[in-house]
Amino acid sequence: MLHAVMRTKLRAGVVALALVFAWVLASAYQAAPAGAAALTNVSWSVSNNQVSATNVTYAFSFTAATTGTIKTITMAVSGAGLAGAPAIARNFGVGAGSVAIAGQTITYTVTAAVAVSAGIPIYLEFSGLTNSGTAGSYTTVITTKTAAPATIDTATSPAVTLAASNTAVTVSVAKSLTFTINNTAFELDLDPSLPALADQTSNVGLTVQTNAHSGYTLTVADNATGLQSAATGNPTIARVSTGKATSLAWPGAPNYGYTVTGTGATIDGAFNGTKYAGYVGAGEQIASRANATGGTADTVTIANRVAIDYTAPAVIYTDTITYTVTPNYT
């Protein structure tokens, strides 16, 4: 009798355990799609919201909600009339892939699908699209899928309004560079009888400001003849060195050279320790920068120094120094 009761209780326990196990399994099965329910931080923007506008760039960004191996991402734009030949302008968060358009759906296919963790921001930017010709409010359903294909996550983007009557604002910032010189000519009156008058310096202040992604380079050059007089025999004041490679501490008269200091820009190491170099007719790079200057201009100061003694003929010497700055927009 006792055994029978115990056997019944045991059977009930097993059944209860089985039920609990089945519930856990069912919950787990339902949890996957529930977790895949919504991508987060979903946004969609267009570079031009005029109807039928061509060469429009669509940018989609979202955050993966579920860890999964993403093979394809579909972006199904509501309505009709989406066209164009999309090109991949940028992709972050997922591997390299290809883009195709079929009807209203843009599909990004990852070449070699790898697992993307939950919480990873994904950004896709496609250029070369043509807006629908119908004005109205549009949304995009973004879906990440496995290779099966099975949906990993999905969500609908906020609406974008395409219109014919509004004013499309497209802000295009030009690639630009501003180059300023603080004076365009300098007069040096030298006199060998007094050291203070026999050795003089003319400072030239240059400022450079650019939005060039890779910064700029600054080169200097002068007349091939250097500091020369038009008087009989074309006397010259010798260059202090043959170029920046042979820069040296100021050796005294009679010489003509320059040294460079600056802020923001990277000044060539040849001028460290106030070393002077002679100008080169073909030009030499004296300063550079590898990125945009931003709001603060770089300053470069060039000290042009001339020293003479009684060996220098008393005539007027002239030279034209050209400072060339070249932005690098690559």
Partner: protein, 371 residues
């Protein structure tokens, strides 16, 4: 004299005097006062932000803008130049480019830009009938004309370029490598990413640096590398960084470089993975501190034990070591190691020494017990 005649003559004389003064002032630069004789001269040049698409054989006008932000008018001359790209974004504008000689229409004469103003200048490009799909760069110089005379004349010119994109599929190939030490003592690590364009066409690339750390963040931290154009045959080195979450961590860097393949509708990817053990200086300081604290504690404990050990009372008459005592203290094993005949030899030596000291005794006589 007629008043009108007098007035006319006076005007003529005044004008002549003014002209003479002006000629003298202009003709004698050596008499000018020393110092700056020119003025401040800013100029700016802007080009389109995107490459201009032009098909082979087509003619198109690409607008540029020459800006004079200064307070006096500036006259500039535009001339075509060759563009040469170097590694790491270096660019040089000089000489001429035979590819574009005669194919770009620049303004024939200098243009003057009023103060605080700008001029739009259209550069008309005549594309060759046969040209491969690629990015092409057309260089030019904007050179202000000298506006003052001095011993030294300074010219600030801007060299710039416009970019032309000949559409179509092209061969783009990039290679990349990541230089990162396997061990670093620092708060973060900087890796050098070297991207080299070994293809035949210029390539736009972008990328991301996903960093994970163990222990720490298993979810990658994304660092983005913005789009950059790399001309064929050129390379660029950029620094990518990673920071561990803990004082000591194994940091893994996954750097992805993306660039368009044959067409812009598909991208190619280069993945570089490197691991580095990062020990933050704070960890070393902490470790050093712990080590010093442990040493101090050990020394303190040892001293305390010594002071706590019961001291033995000093004997009033300390026993002097005798030869026998000394012999006793010697380890029996050592004694055992000494050969038996060694004692006898020592004894004979001692007797011989005594015999030499006291020659009355015979060498063979035995010492008296009273000695």
């Amino acid at each position: 004299m007629h008043p009108r005649t007098f007035t006319a003559r006076a005007c003529r004389n005044a004008a002549s005097l003014a002209a003479i003064i002006a000629i003298l002032a202009g003709a004698v630069p050596a008499l000018a006062a020393p110092g700056p004789v020119g003025n401040r001269r800013p100029i700016a040049v802007s080009v389109p932000s995107e490459a201009a698409p032009l098909d082979p054989g087509a003619t198109g006008t690409i607008p540029i803008r020459v800006v004079n932000p200064g307070s006096t008018p500036v006259t500039v001359r535009l001339t075509g130049q060759g563009v040469r790209f170097g590694d790491d974004g270096r660019v040089t504008i000089s000489g001429s480019d035979p590819m574009w000689d005669g194919r770009i229409d620049f303004p024939a004469s200098p243009i003057t830009i009023a103060a605080q103003s700008y001029r739009r200048v259209g550069l008309t490009v005549h594309m060759p009938a046969r040209i491969d799909p690629d990015f092409y760069f057309v260089g030019f110089l904007v050179t202000p004309l000298p506006n003052a005379a001095g011993n030294l004349t300074y010219i600030n010119q801007i060299g710039s370029y416009i970019t032309i994109n000949v559409p179509g599929p092209r061969t783009r190939t990039l290679v990349a490598d990541l230089h990162l030490p396997s061990f670093a003592i620092s708060s973060g690590v900087d890796a050098k990413l070297h991207v080299h364009n070994v293809g035949k066409a210029a390539a736009m690339y972008w990328g991301e640096n996903d960093t994970t750390a163990t222990p720490g963040s298993s979810k990658p931290r994304q660092g983005l590398l913005d789009r950059s154009l790399l001309p064929a045959g050129r390379s660029r080195t950029v620094v990518v960084e990673a920071k561990p979450s803990f004082l000591i961590a194994m940091v893994t860097m996954h750097v992805h470089i993306f660039y368009p393949g044959r067409t812009d509708a598909a991208t190619t990817e280069i993945v570089l993975t490197k691991h580095v053990l990062v020990v933050q200086p704070t960890a070393l300081v902490l470790f050093g501190g712990i080590l010093i604290a442990a040493c101090i504690w050990y020394a303190h404990r040892r001293r305390k034990r010594r002071t706590q050990r019961p001291t033995r009372p000093r004997p009033r008459h300390p026993a002097k070591p005798t030869r026998n005592d000394a012999r006793k203290r010697r380890s029996p094993s050592r004694r055992r190691r000494v050969p038996a005949h060694a004692d006898a030899a020592v004894r004979v030596d001692r007797l011989l020494a005594q015999a030499r000291a006291n020659p009355k005794r015979t060498a063979r006589s035995r010492p008296h017990p009273a000695d």
